[in-house]
Symmetry: C2
Subunit: 223 residues, 2 copies
């Protein structure tokens, strides 16, 4: 096996590791919210540091791979895609942290019913994250496309969560409950955004494999 | 002047153009919201397409620059940074579109007082966007650092906007007004996120110039 191939495989496994950490952050933060478990929520902040270290190491590895091997074609696209995917993964981790920061406050207040759909959103999005990286490592365009297909489902669920919460707000005049509803809205928004990052990764995969850019208009209305 | 330098300058000017478009999108969408001008808001959707075309062209240019010139050191970091900055700019454009989509609904309803701080947020963030790209093109670490410094100011303003809106919500039991308050919260969030992208760009600039990674812990709590 060429040294370059060994290095490329190492890059793949590092991205997989980082992806595993990010998936864990998402899972833990939502579990912590559902179980109202402060310890669980706090553990997300520790994982964040690991993810940040991975990001820097992977970026550095990509730069060295290009500088020392001067790849072209799909190898070059793989490495530049890896750099983008790296930053998408890191930003997913940031969103998990954003959720945890809200969850820490949320669990101090009484529960609101509309939490119910948030774990459901989270489950779909965790699958999107896993599949997008699997697609990257396997040059699997079909799998990448299934991630793109799930985007609308997540957007719809988010819309439902937010309109449920608005419905509650109309009835609520208690400021603590308003606070809770607002926090939950931003959590739904963060989960949706994690899904958007998985979509970005999947589009990079399709570009990498086909060498043809399929971005836009698919993602540019993501909200 | 070497052909490579000519190409690098062309890349810089394309990024400047794209940045100009994105700044225009942000300015127009907030002006449209303030003036409650549907035509102005709609024009953002047209600019979005131009931004998307720029993104694809710039990415392609970066790949060709690496493949054909096999740059190393700061030249390589410049090009890989340009790819990241390209996607940050495009995502800023997406946020401007997100704001416009909300603004289209918002102007149908009576105005809420807390709009006042949103244009202020937007002004600061537009400056951050401009400075981050100026810093990139001039390898200007000091300017990049001023962008980082503005991040907290924007976060604080966003916090103020959202708590003002929560205060309103407690008093509001009218569902249209709740809708308005919620939309404004997400707009504040989008503006903040545009600032976060400017921070990402500025960190890339500092990395590019110094070859040393300064990411984390600065941005990873951005929310």
């Amino acid at each position: 096996m060429r040294h370059f191939d060994v290095e490329m495989n190492d890059l793949k496994s590092r991205l997989m590791e980082m992806c595993g950490l990010v998936q864990e952050m998402i899972k833990i933060t939502i579990d912590g919210l559902v179980k109202r478990d402060q310890k669980l929520i706090d553990s997300v902040f520790l994982l964040e540091n690991e993810v940040n270290i991975h990001e820097i190491v992977i970026d550095d590895k990509c730069l060295k791979l290009v500088a020392l091997n001067q790849p072209v074609g799909i190898d070059l696209r793989f490495i530049t895609s890896a750099m983008k995917i790296n930053s998408d993964l890191e930003r997913m981790g940031d969103e998990a942290v954003n959720i945890s920061e809200k969850a820490v406050d949320l669990i101090k207040y009484p529960e609101l019913k509309p939490l119910i759909d948030i774990p459901k959103m989270s489950d779909i999005v965790q699958q999107m994250v896993a599949d997008s990286i699997k697609a990257f490592n396997g040059n699997d365009v079909e799998l990448a496309q299934t991630v793109l297909a799930k985007d609308d489902e997540v957007d719809d669920l988010k819309g439902k969560v937010i309109s449920d919460l608005k419905g509650f707000m109309v009835k609520l005049s208690d400021s603590e409950m308003i606070q809770t509803a607002v926090d939950l809205m931003f959590i739904a928004k963060s989960i949706e955004r994690i899904g958007d990052h998985a979509v970005n990764i999947s589009e990079d995969v399709i570009f990498m494999v086909r060498g043809k850019d399929i971005r836009h208009p698919k993602t540019n209305r993501a909200e």
